[in-house]
């Protein structure tokens, strides 16, 4: 007997993600799912964001990593609470992992939660972790062809950061072509050209992030 079901394979993850998202929204915690290739600068961006925003907002970080706590150690040194998730070879974080990780955080004290996903432009696109926004980093050393090669993450991201722009003179990265491709895939994406080496280049990104927290708080009080 053949039984028609038409059930979403990712349903369980999406249910947990929706439940987490509702919890975060209720508390006014803006949650970022930070994506990008290995070495694109995810941890450097988190470090700088913590340093530059920590006077005004309380940040907490969840670090996804295959096996090590190297990234979490870097974040802890910046003074933000951090929870390490080791996926033991798993290529992405899922909502259940984040749900387990937040039990180690004091949600009363958090304004912004950044979930740094495993370095990977493919798999994390399919697994929501309760975020309000996906943010993807593309570094100029990776080449401008990446948005069209990995369209899903670029289409789903509310903000796209082109990182390591200080290295542009030393690469063949065609930044206008990259921006054109990103805009084509996702006309509503907020685009920021940054270098984590220069705090001033992060101003646009920080403003955007602050605005998201304020908007979430406003929605909550309305």
């Amino acid at each position: 007997m053949e039984i028609t079901v038409m059930s979403n394979i990712l349903e369980k993850n999406e249910e947990i993600a929706a439940e987490l998202n509702a919890r975060f929204s209720k508390r006014g915690i803006f949650v970022v799912n930070l994506l990008g290739s290995p070495g694109c600068g995810k941890t450097s961006l988190v470090e700088q964001t913590v340093r530059l925003l920590n006077n005004d907002f309380s940040l907490a970080i969840i670090e996804g990593d295959l096996y090590t706590s190297k990234d979490a150690d870097r974040i802890a040194a910046c003074g933000a609470p951090v929870v390490q998730i080791n996926t033991h070879g798993g290529c992405h974080l899922d909502a259940a992992m984040v749900k387990a990780a937040i039990s180690q955080l004091d949600l009363e004290q958090i304004d912004i939660l950044i979930v740094e996903n495993v370095g990977n432009l493919v798999c994390p696109a399919e697994f929501a972790v309760g975020e309000h926004a996906k943010v993807v980093i593309l570094s100029v050393t990776e080449g401008e062809d990446k948005p069209l090669k990995y369209p899903a993450v670029f289409q789903q991201s509310a903000a796209v950061l082109i990182n390591k722009v200080d290295l542009l003179p030393y690469t063949d990265f065609a930044i206008d072509a990259a921006i054109g491709d990103i805009r084509g895939l996702n006309p509503n994406a907020n685009l920021f050209n940054v270098s984590c080496k220069t705090a001033s280049s992060l101003a646009g990104w920080l403003e955007w992030l602050k605005k998201q927290v304020i908007m979430l708080r406003k929605q909550k009080s309305d």
Partner: protein
């Protein structure tokens, strides 16, 4: 690795469907995977076979149908095929493509005995 997580999702749906229908064995499962999900059928089959061991779905045939990717062009309004992840409207050349199909991950049906 991401297929193993998908395989677990498939198995959960298969087993709950089978139990709900008082089945003693699962003979086959039809899965629809959109091309844009990057699902590798062989990896999904292997993951499912490994996870289904010792359950009533052990040895069930997994039939994976890759659903083609199509999109809507925001510039000219036509419906276009998204061929090999190329987000270019085949009518006007625009990159402003909204995905219509290709992101599905569904268990279509479960064949039980």
């Amino acid at each position: 690795m991401h297929e193993l997580a998908l395989a677990q999702g498939v198995l959960d749906i298969v087993l709950s469907t089978a139990v709900g229908n008082n089945a003693v064995r699962v003979a086959g499962v039809k899965v629809i995977a959109g091309e844009l999900t990057g699902t590798v059928p062989e990896a999904l089959e292997m993951g499912f076979a490994a996870l289904a061991k010792g359950t009533i779905a052990e040895n069930a045939r997994l039939l994976i149908q890759l659903a083609p990717a199509t999109g809507h062009c925001r510039d000219c309004g036509s419906t276009t095929d998204i061929d090999k992840h190329s987000f270019v409207c085949q009518a006007c050349g625009s990159h402003a493509i909204e995905i219509i199909t290709g992101r599905e991950l569904l268990v279509e049906s479960v064949e039980v005995e």
